[in-house]
Symmetry: C3
């Protein structure tokens, strides 16, 4: 549940409260014991973000009349095991990344930092940093793409710094009420000097996503590209879920490229609710056409016990198997090429 800071104006008259502007302060504090086992080294950590990514944010909106609204959203990542923040990327290139590796990393609104103008009939224009459209289908996943159960559908080695989010973007979202269809298109800028250099377009890119949700079905297709002189990155995927009530099933299929290097991924997953708990299972796979055709396969099993809407206990176990030279490892462990790795999370998630 979210908290709202009320306008000072509400002091004047409680009757008019609902018409006042408001700011919502929100967040997630998620802590887990994370155990990783690999052929080279094991790991034990008390870390964050096993069920949901830890965060702290501020957001609000203003009704401008005539179906028009303005809004903002500032959302920071949070490593609540140490209190550190997380870095952002200023130019959608490696040079815009922070080091973020030590205890000096302060809070940035790297998860989302946007201002929007929304029209009831025409949709939303949104400026700033947020998800790229080509990432969103990877959220058709019972683990929410976080924790040791995170599926293998994302390869930042191939799709790079804009795999998940991009800065300096202009996005358009279709309005609600289109018979179940939804969609977004986004263009973002690397902001390099237009000086004729080969890299002047580096970090420029964009993506588009179209989906359909109706009754038990939700599915979408997306594609995106970011330009680099060293080889453009491309991400194309389709994802969907069907809610059978006794279980909800998920499917994702993806194709990535970085220059001539190609990656392929898939995920099949499901959630079975049971009282205040839910069981999760996901199988996923990532392979590339690099020398040896490296491939990783993963199975993840999880259980969540909800203590309330805001608070849950959870555990997840996962195992990854590598072949063709791949060496994916889990929860901070380290594993040799073609060996396997496993991991276990035990944690608590509290949101506000």
């Amino acid at each position: 549940m979210k908290k709202t800071l009320f306008a000072a104006a509400l002091l004047a008259s409680a009757v008019t409260v609902s018409a006042q502007p408001s700011i919502t302060l929100f967040g997630v504090v998620d802590a887990r014991v994370a155990i990783g086992r690999g052929s080279l080294a094991d790991a034990v950590q008390l870390t964050s973000a096993g069920l949901n990514t830890s965060r702290l944010g501020f957001r609000g909106s203003e009704d401008l009349g005539g179906g028009l609204a303005a809004s903002f959203w500032l959302e920071a990542a949070l490593s609540n095991d140490s209190g550190a923040g997380g870095p952002t990327n200023t130019n959608n290139q490696a040079s815009g990344a922070g080091t973020g590796s030590s205890g000096s990393q302060g809070l940035t609104f790297a998860r989302r930092s946007t201002v929007s103008l929304t029209g009831r009939n025409w949709g939303e224009l949104r400026l700033g940093r947020e998800y790229v459209p080509q990432y969103l289908n990877l959220l058709f996943d019972p683990f929410g793409n976080v924790g040791v159960g995170v599926p293998l559908t994302l390869s930042s080695i191939i799709t790079g710094v804009t795999s998940t989010r991009a800065s300096n973007g202009v996005a358009y979202f279709l309005p609600a009420g289109l018979g179940g269809f939804y969609g977004t298109a986004r263009y973002y800028l690397g902001e390099n000097s237009r000086d004729g250099a080969a890299t002047e377009d580096d970090g420029n890119g964009g993506g588009v996503r179209i989906g359909y949700a109706s009754g038990p079905l939700d599915m979408a297709v997306a594609t995106g590209r970011t330009e680099y002189a060293s080889g453009d990155t491309r991400q194309t995927n389709i994802g969907g879920s069907w809610n059978f009530k006794v279980a909800k099933v998920f499917l994702v299929i993806g194709r990535d490229r970085r220059g001539a290097l190609r990656g392929r991924s898939w995920e099949v997953a499901g959630v079975v609710p049971l009282g205040r708990g839910e069981f999760k299972l996901a199988l996923s796979d990532y392979s590339t056409d690099a020398a040896g055709n490296p491939e990783s396969k993963k199975v993840a099993l999880g259980y969540v016990q909800h203590l309330s809407k805001r608070t849950a206990l959870y555990t997840t176990w996962a195992r990854v198997e590598n072949s063709g030279g791949a060496a994916a490892s889990l929860n901070g462990s380290s594993t040799a090429a073609n060996a396997s790795s496993s991991g276990l999370d035990l944690g608590i998630r509290h949101s506000f």
Copy 2:
């Protein structure tokens, strides 16, 4: 409009709400497409702060009785195109500056970080980081000293890291009710070790400002100095505005020094309100007595459409012409000495 977080005590009795202490959470999220054209390189950016500087802040005050109040103000800069924060300066010297160039820059309360004691009759004592008095007259400007229309009245090359703000300061403000007169004096410390080194006073400085506001007139004079072994910096200026209702006009004249190097500036500007919009025009000039007498002249034209008190759309166009070896350029473009540069902003400003 600002939001207020109420005291828990208000739960006990809604009737006493207005007497409770409060914290105000406030901010600006301003995003713009910024196009720059120069003789060497153009630039296109989706950046922040075209109409007002983006920020996030917390402030509050406490009535201590007898006309006495205590208050605090914490205000951070925000690059809402990427979610990064902005650095501060800890010692009013180059060595106290952060790098702030990449995505690792977290939030600091660099815009203002103060605690105050205020007496109804005697004024305000304020400790911490904030504007220097010698900067404030540069805000007699229809563009609020931000965006592509920012006038040329500030030269951080000459007046250095304390051009706008200083840390480690003690300020005194005159109380209200002096027949239109207002004023402030401030002293700030570089905090170098008192070890007898030539640089032990570096970063020490201060400024004073006296103004008069009555009816349509508002004008003030200010001067300040910061000590450096390599040459003190000085900033002296006069600024004012006259509100003719059909238009408000602005005038600023400034004289700067860094050691033996002198700078001169002026600005003439105006705003014409028209319904929910306003037109702005500003001419400004900066010249120094360095070899060749470099000089830059600027014209800026702007229009703001207010959608509400909190939300506005805006556009600004500006052009700068250089001579004597100057090479000022706009909106991230790059221009050769004595060439010109132009820039265009298109943006939205949302405050809360």
Copy 3:
């Protein structure tokens, strides 16, 4: 006094307010003129944290029913003289420290970043970063272990980066209602790879503290250890206070180790309340068995004038005398081995 952000749900019905979840925004802004005198160099600073450490935080809790509650606490350090934040440490080792020395240091929740599950009968399980148990007895001090009056009971040279706080921890706290007994045990992780290296346990550690509070008496004993291949650090101490009403007296005795190096400390102190003010006096001492048996002795005298519960003016004077090669100095001054140093604080503390 703390501010509370209410749930949006309260809009629906004022009657149900007290059952809503809430977030508390809280902080301290404390500024002081700090003068230091030493045999090598004096210092004058306008700095923070003379009476209480400056901070900004968010915390909240949720009643889960049946005596169970979930809660979070995020608390950042704040240098309100410049607006900078403070760094944290990600792995309880030197390598996890930020540089934190210049104006680029953003806000981190280094003071406390925890999520808890609390049972009325069984106590509290708390995950994240916070104080180590072996630090808490050092707070039996009238100066709250902050400002120029800070006692000599803490030696970060000997007890290192986990002297005060540790990251990646799991803590257990006894419940209330045990006839005056209280206690905590905590284990924290360095999170190094389990690769068989000599340093794989570096940063792992833990501590335990047991105390008793009843009527005028409060006393506790604590011990803790952090592992390092270069030599474990140990902190053991006993502390207590007795409130005679006309005065409250404090006593702390400590024994530290880093490998073979031993440190010994003691403090005797008192507070005398007088109307809205209070006088403080503390004597403290730290010595080690390093070559020459370096030792520092300190006397601190303070006065606080409370203007309200939230706001106070204060002054503290302190002097340290060194022998055996010690060179402790106060308030940024620098002093030669075996020479003395003194310091004076004049400040204002405002909390919210």
